[in-house]
Symmetry: none
Subunit: 193 residues, 4 copies
DNA sequence: GATGAATGAGATTTCATTCAT
DNA sequence: CATGAATGAAATCTCATTCAT
């Protein structure tokens, strides 16, 4: 009864939130039911089993991933383009926190999810590499830039910050979004000009 | 009977390995006992309870952390110093994989461990910032370098690669140590010269 | 399925009966479940834990204790009054056998229960002493009666018989209720006339 | 190492003391070993199993019971004789606390011990009844005394006080030995003169 | 559609007991 | 004689899942 969404939505949200705190195993069906404000057995009317909740979220993740890839429209300015890319990456992973984390943490138990997350990284890298190669050819960025390794570094850096933001909510360690885009991403990009 | 170490060592190793695959909760005492080749109840003669195994590993982690901090001896060449730092960081986190991962994954359940891991990051950052500030003052690196933000970026990058190496054993995504130090860290450092 | 009471009632009854035979520790959750005719895990849906069963019985005990105290209405005839008192005491302790016994046997492990049982004795003693003091003042019983010590003796005697009745079901040792009230209590009272 | 008795004696004492606090089941072999200052496995060199410790104590109990019965030498003064009897009963039960308590508490699990304790009561009763019958015949006590029932009452009373003394160490409820013999037993006896 | 009651498998932990030294 | 290390059975408790209403 937490809000006026449908039961199914409330269950998905409850699951997502709890996974952040407790991991997949620690997210018990009882906790999910309590947070969603329904009876425990109601879960099983909506989903085949506990794994079914996760499957549903993975489906949404995969659909959204296509969308996010299409949303990225580099304009040929490396600084702005990296900021744009980081922003999309961050928004996407935050929206799909639970899937992202389960894919990372419990890769052995859910190889298909681990795979989906893995593909996100690869895809993101590829999009960047392709674009920058194109920009190098057209002279927009210096031909001395080591495109592959710089992209690796960039992706590792924004990945690292996202992981920290999920692990620790205090801002001591991870760098909050705005500041991260303004200072760190921009600084990183400046070396590629 | 897995090997000829003491029972306690075999238990610690078994626990450590299993946590990587299954997380803390997924690492059942039965699995630990099976892998270590002892009876389940033997665990409880060596450790107060399941948490006790973790405590023992955390103690070793904390001791080693002091050692690792002392091992870092920058020589005033930014490229070599960053490579050295990354190497120590990587060795340390790999040696203490299980504690590092539990601190990251299950921060809500084990706040003291989350804290120990957090402090490692902070400490590493501080050591680098202090050294580089010193080097900027003595002219060894350019005074235009944005020390704080570059260090942030560097730490995020190596942190990101370590996390990936734990999540995925295939080398498609994370970058294997040698290559990472030679290509990526060196490339990163080159911008600070 | 033992009978048609609610599951909770059946569990409480099973626990109560088993404690008589086996003590608290010896009353395993498996035995309770078997006697109540339910699955072991069902216990934990009705009570927080094993101790929770006992707590429930202690609550009933405390409620009933107030009732029993109010039920005692001495009429000024010492024989009839002691019989009435003994009868109420006996009925109460028999109804709450399990709590009474645990309070007695396992006082170190359950100090709050030991206390509740202790208070019952004290309260019973006080009610008798007060009433008899009053009767002595109004001349209904001889002023030479040593009220405090006689009450002590009386309480010890009926306490002793109740304890024996719980320990041994054969009538060789403890004296069955009717006979005890008719012969022993009456005899005791006759000395106070 | 607690004292310089033999290992076996130390084990018997440890067991005895612990049973008072924790009951038979709660008296674990580990606790016994700790209190006796020996290794847990040493217990099994001295006794077949945990039950064997108890058996040894029961043997001593039975031997002592014969002795105690012989020690009772009534002199024909009902007050002094009851005091003497109560004293012997008290001393004996206190010396053999653990057996007495186990016989009382865990009668279902150790029927032979329950029996031994039961027999003590019966025997004590019989000795008193026989002696008082004799005294009634010789005119030493009034022929109007209801010997059987008075003896019952007396035995219940001293039994009650002994049980309380084991359950509660504070003197609020049970009556300490000296005072009990001087006030309560004497008072009880005065009615039989 | 949703609930409440119950279940069975399995997790952690305790404890008496054995065995090699 | 005594110890330290290990065991197996059983105890308490958790959790995903089912079923009747």
């Amino acid at each position: 009864m937490a809000n006026n969404n449908t039961t199914e939505e409330r269950l998905l949200t409850a699951f997502s939130d709890l996974v952040l705190k407790y991991g997949y195993r620690g997210t018990t069906t009882k906790k999910i039911a309590d947070v969603a404000g329904v009876n425990e057995s109601t879960i099983f009317r909506h989903f085949k089993d506990k794994h079914g909740i996760l499957n549903e979220l993975v489906n949404k993740y995969l659909q959204d991933a296509d969308q996010a890839a299409n949303d990225f429209k580099p304009i040929g300015d490396i600084e702005l383009d990296l900021i744009q890319g980081a922003k999309i990456y961050e928004t996407f992973t935050t929206t799909h926190r639970s899937v992202f984390l389960i894919g990372l943490r419990e890769s052995y138990q859910f190889p298909e999810i681990a795979d989906a997350v893995r593909q996100l990284q690869q895809r993101f890298k590829k999009i960047l590499v392709d674009k920058f190669t194109e920009m190098a050819e057209s002279g927009e960025i210096s031909s001395t830039v080591d495109i592959k390794n710089e992209t690796d570094n960039f992706v590792l850096m924004i990945f690292g910050n996202v992981v920290l933001s999920f692990a620790y909510t205090d801002a001591e360690l991870y760098i909050p979004s705005n500041q991260f885009l303004e200072n760190n991403v921009r600084l990183f990009a400046s070396h590629l000009k």
